[in-house]
């Protein structure tokens, strides 16, 4: 067996990775909670975000932690536009159509990226990429600690946005009772697009936090999409706290699974958890509403 120190290190690393997973899942669950749709383009949009951060660094020389302040609003606008002018009108309110439209979108995005940039895997070397801090014997990557802290702050910000602002109130109203919200003068199409924009902005931020320790290629989003779905399902579709807890949980499962069974089977453990949860308790482990 492994020494306790290694196990603790694996758990902590899992938590740190899980935080970024949680951020990706946060976007997905937000979109699900309000629009009640499954966004299959989520992974592909993350890939776009990673490419954007990559080129911001390579071409403009922007550090990812600086670029995030441009990328996040940019991706908000992108998500808003996609939902308002493409997904919404094309799907005409049918859930199955939404699945297929977002799937089609994902295929188009991934393959255009493949066409433009080929299958090469790219990385960037930011100054702090490999710095580590020693916390009580466990070596932690600085960028992953930053990522973790950023996710916590973002979750709080998102929570505040939902609870304290008028837009947040409108989003919650639409999520609860679409028709009622519409009757009281809320522009549902606008709120849908705003929510989609917020979910996409989460991806922009996640990309900035990921890239110092991660890579980018046209299909990288695929490896995240089922993980993100797993987290969303674990946490209960539409639940923000569920996404955060689910993300941390999946991060730890993957990290420990990888430690005990190797990397490929570590991934397998996530999918098995996913299938099991869906089969046994599709409302999620953390008791969120169905």
């Amino acid at each position: 067996m492994f020494a306790p120190a290694i196990l603790i290190q694996a758990v902590i690393n899992g938590v740190l990775t899980g935080a970024v997973y949680a951020l990706i899942a946060l976007g997905l669950t937000l979109i699900y909670g309000v629009l009640h749709i499954i966004n299959f383009a989520h992974g592909a949009l993350l890939t776009v975000a990673l490419f954007a951060v990559y080129f911001a660094y390579k071409v403009l020389g922007l550090d990812p932690y600086v670029a995030v302040f441009g990328i996040a609003p940019l991706f908000f606008v992108l998500g808003y536009g996609l939902q308002r002018f493409l997904i919404g009108p094309a799907a005409r309110g049918d859930d199955r159509n939404v699945m297929l439209v977002t799937l089609g979108l994902a295929i188009v995005i991934e393959n255009l990226l493949l066409y433009a940039f080929h299958a090469d895997t790219r990385t960037i070397d930011v100054p702090a990429g490999f710095d580590v801090v020693d916390v009580d014997g466990a070596l932690l990557g600085v960028s992953r600690v930053v990522g973790f802290a950023a996710v916590i702050v973002l979750t709080l910000l998102l929570w505040a946005l939902m609870k304290l602002t008028d837009t947040g109130k409108a989003i919650r109203a639409v999520a609860k009772e679409k028709l009622g919200a519409e009757l009281s003068g809320i522009d549902v199409a606008h709120i849908y697009a705003v929510t989609f924009g917020l979910g996409t902005a989460c991806l922009g931020i996640a990309a900035c936090l990921l890239i110092p320790t991660f890579y980018v290629n046209p299909t990288v989003g695929q490896s995240f999409i089922l993980v993100a779905f797993t987290i969303v399902v674990l946490g209960g579709m539409g639940s923000v706290t569920g996404a955060l807890l689910g993300g941390l949980f999946v991060g730890v499962v993957e990290s420990l699974g990888g430690l005990f069974f190797g990397e490929t089977l570590g991934q397998l453990s996530i999918f098995l958890v996913f299938i099991l949860v869906l089969l046994v308790r599709p409302t999620g482990l953390f008791g969120a509403r169905a």
């Binding site: 749709i37 499954i38 493409l86 009108p89 094309a90 799907a91 859930d95 199955r96 159509n97 699945m99 297929l100 439209v101 799937l103 089609g104 979108l105 994902a106 295929i107 188009v108 995005i109 991934e110 393959n111 255009l112 990226l113 493949l114 066409y115 080929h118 299958a119 046209p218 695929q222 089922l226 779905f229 399902v233 490929t264 089977l265 991934q267 397998l268 999918f271 098995l272 996913f274 299938i275 869906l278 089969l279 046994v280 599709p282």
Partner: protein, 329 residues
């Protein structure tokens, strides 16, 4: 009766293509298009007629392909027998997945997600277990004899896959006429109403999954036999799952000819794209994705639906004929 005549006419025309002196390249294109049509028809039974949108039909395709290849290469089973076993294996996997998933009452988006996850699990397992050849894949030994299901002429392969496609058309046509098909469509339209009318929803869904999985597995078996090679991403990759739903949705889901029309259309587009853009990776799939979005936005009933609409518009014009023609201008 009209439906049967249409199937007869279409299969007669398609049967004659090799006789008209089609080149090997054309035949290869047609074989691959028919393969896509067969995979799509499998999806169409469950997704089009049953309303259960699977995003993981690769699970059945891959099972068929691997079963055919492994039984031949590791256990010396005759290729034709292995083909049959492959279909059965696909149906069994379909039965197991269907049982688990429908027992838990998963539908809609959840159904799509869980089927996707099953296909991914199979892909990962196939990429590491020794019996599938792990990352290397499984090669079927070249042995060009009819007994070994290997032929010199591509035309023979084409006729075999065409026969399978025609069989799948017949199955869909039967589905539209039998009680089982009516129950399946009732489940698609409104599950609760169907149950209230006494339809055993669970049994109907399982039946449709078995049929759907068997058809898609047959395509997988044929793939292995035609290309003589299977690996985990070919067999269980998401590309198969995407193409499975693409063909019937583009062609017209829940129709007899939808998958066939869609597969021919989509594959032709892919070829045109390759000619225009060169053989660059990704361009054909990018176009498939765009077609998928465009079809849902502008032609939700697919090519078959478009055809029906056009036909309906043309006919009254003919009937009104002389009287109405000036008014239409």
């Amino acid at each position: 009766m009209k439906g049967w005549l249409a199937i007869l006419a279409v299969s007669a025309v398609l049967t004659c293509v090799p006789l008209a002196g089609a080149s090997n390249v054309t035949l290869n294109f047609l074989v691959v298009a028919m393969l896509a049509a067969l995979v799509g028809q499998g999806w169409n039974i469950l997704g089009g007629y049953g309303g259960q949108y699977s995003f993981g039909h690769a699970a059945f395709f891959g099972t068929g392909a691997y079963a055919t290849a492994i039984l031949q290469m590791r256990y010396g089973v005759n290729a034709w027998v292995a083909f049959g076993c492959g279909i059965a294996a696909g149906a069994i996997v379909g039965g197991i997945i269907g049982f688990l998933v429908f027992r838990s009452g998963l539908k809609g988006s959840y159904f799509a997600l869980v089927t996707l996850a099953f296909a991914e699990v199979l892909r990962i397992v196939a990429s590491v277990t020794p019996i599938t050849g792990a990352g290397v894949g499984t090669l079927i030994k070249l042995d060009i004899r009819p007994e070994a299901f290997q032929f010199q002429s591509r035309a023979v392969y084409y006729w075999i896959i065409l026969l399978l496609v025609v069989l799948s058309l017949v199955i869909a046509e039967r589905l539209e006429q039998t009680r089982f098909g009516a129950r399946l469509m009732a489940v698609r339209e409104n599950e609760d109403s169907a149950r209230a009318l006494g339809v055993d929803v669970f049994a109907v869904k399982i039946g449709a999954t078995l049929l759907s999985a068997a058809i898609t597995a047959a395509a997988g078996c044929f793939y292995a036999q035609y290309f003589l090679f299977v690996d985990s991403s070919i067999a269980f990759g998401s590309r198969v799952s995407v193409e499975a739903l693409l063909a019937p949705i583009v062609g017209g889901s829940g129709t007899v000819f939808g998958a066939l029309a869609g597969a021919l259309a989509v594959r032709s587009l892919g070829e045109v794209a390759k000619i225009v853009a060169g053989d660059a990776p990704g361009i054909d799939l990018a176009i498939y994705g765009a077609v998928l979005v465009a079809v849902i936005a502008f032609a939700p009933r697919g090519i078959v639906g478009l055809g029906a609409t056009l036909w309906a518009r043309l006919r009254p014009r003919e009937q009104v004929g002389l009287a109405g023609s000036s008014g239409r201008g």
